[in-house]
Symmetry: C2
Subunit: 310 residues, 2 copies
């Protein structure tokens, strides 16, 4: 293992995680993923797996990408690294990661997202000369209806995963998640959070790869039991409509704010794989205000003021 480059080992983690998540989702859902391989014109490509309109999931996307090539100016700007080309001349990048978004059918089952990635910027003329490298990632939960036990379970398992590496990671990455997954224009969070980190290079790459592995391995046990538990919860038109409205917010976040989506669009990734994260269906009604003390109002309240869950 140790003779492999960090690029290869990070890709292997992404592929392994894809297999694990897809196997677990198929087992629960009954339906099968469709797999597409795609090539990126500038270098690299990916494998997208999508399951649509299944027994438990309305849409599940699990994408691995391994992309590399020349660094463009908009890409550097999106990374807020506009000036490093002055210092190092022409640059190239390498990025590999796993990205998954799962939207269940039942409004009482939460949507979840997880993403772990390794990134390198190297000199174009000397690709072994690494100018910057980092790991990024995280996992977060977006319920339409708040179930406090679910939120605690999801956070607790990610806390345990972080603690293998550093006891300060969970509180730090939990706060970072609350800050990042925020619809500023709505003054609310996308969901009830989880963990988020980006540009992590403060420990040896070896240790951070292990950290990502622990977190990635926590995702299936942290999330799938919640889907299983709520798959058969009774619901009616009211719950379905509310779920659709919340999915509208999910779309707003991903198209207006999400760095991964915008990086993908700027770096010439495959559009269908980048937008795989969008829900199958969504809804925008004008000025919906939930009734006071309703379950819908309880969700909005927790989105306004993020809470501690462990």
């Amino acid at each position: 293992m140790s003779s492999q480059s960090m690029r290869q080992r990070a890709e292997a983690l992404a592929r392994q995680t894809q297999d694990t998540i897809c196997a677990a989702v198929e087992k629960l859902d009954g339906a099968r993923f469709r797999e597409d391989s795609w090539q990126r014109p500038g270098g690299g490509g990916g494998d997208s797996r999508v399951l649509q309109d299944g027994g438990v999931f309305e849409k599940a996307g699990v994408n691995v990408s391994v992309v590399y090539g020349a660094v463009s100016a908009p890409m550097l700007a999106a990374l807020e690294l506009a000036t490093i080309a002055d210092e190092h001349g022409e640059l190239a990048f390498f990025a590999t990661g796993i990205s998954t978004v799962l939207h269940p059918q039942n409004p009482h089952a939460p949507t979840a997202h997880a993403n772990y990635r390794y990134f390198e910027i190297v000199r174009h003329d000397e690709p072994t000369q690494i100018v910057r490298w980092w790991f990024g990632g995280g996992a977060d939960l977006t319920p339409s209806y708040l179930v406090e036990d679910d939120a605690r379970h999801f956070h607790r398992l990610h806390q345990q995963a972080c603690e293998h590496t550093d006891a300060s990671y969970y509180p730090r990455f939990k706060r970072w998640c609350d800050e990042y997954f925020r619809l500023h224009h709505r003054a609310e969070a996308r969901g009830i959070g989880g963990i988020f980190f980006d540009r992590l290079d403060e420990r040896p790459a070896e240790a951070l790869l292990t950290h990502c592995r622990h977190c990635a391995e926590a995702f299936v046990p942290a999330y799938l039991p919640l889907c299983e538990a709520h798959a058969a919860d009774p619901f009616g038109e009211r719950e379905r409509r509310w779920q659709q409205l919340r999915r509208g917010r999910y779309v707003e976040f991903n198209l207006l704010h999400d760095r991964g989506t915008l990086f993908g669009l700027h770096s010439g990734g495959r559009i269908e794989s980048i937008l795989m994260s969008l829900p199958l269906t969504a809804r925008w009604e004008y000025d919906v205000v939930p009734e006071p003390h309703s379950p819908e109002a309880a969700l909005v309240e927790v989105l306004r003021e993020p809470r501690d869950w462990v």
Copy 2:
């Protein structure tokens, strides 16, 4: 009339256009608009009218805004005017306009958008000192199924409106519209176009206000007859699904590219009024490719290669 300021006259045009469109929509639809007035914390406000789940329209929003106040750095950046503050010191802005988006129920009836606006940037210390002013606007049609006669009718009436002012305007603004309403990441247009212009100050304000009036007056006769004609067209699950997918694209354009939406979000406009343009429902399926020679494929073809309609 001539004793009124351009600000007042532009606002009067916006309000008149709102009344005209709402009266015509209510007459056709049978349902009534709900009206909300809102205040912008930094100055000004607006009147939003929304009709939802009507007999003919799934969602119709007609918004007038009159906003003013301090110019922020992100606002100048969004306007690509980052440097004018260096020259003139602290700045203030004034903007008034009408913005409407109409999404019909029937998949054979097209969505339409129209927007006409007047904008001023003035010195903060001397508000009568206008640093920049311009008119912007346009109207465009977004069908789920291409009806060539509809496209021709919509374009012809906007051509006639433009020709009152300048015979070069329609061809110029038609091309501008095709360029502006483009989903670059999809390599397709949002719809079959119409007219679009921005930062227009090449004639006296008086003449450009009249130009906007002619265009705004063309909207109802250019668009509503199409909705009336298709309101009872038969359709099934297939057409409804395709309409929902096309609405997903509409959401993508508005959240990723539309200057008006992004300006609204940056300038602290009222979120429910800014996002009034989003359809009631939308859908994202993975990698949908219409069957060759189907009506769905015919639409995609015209979106790939904009056509001349008059």
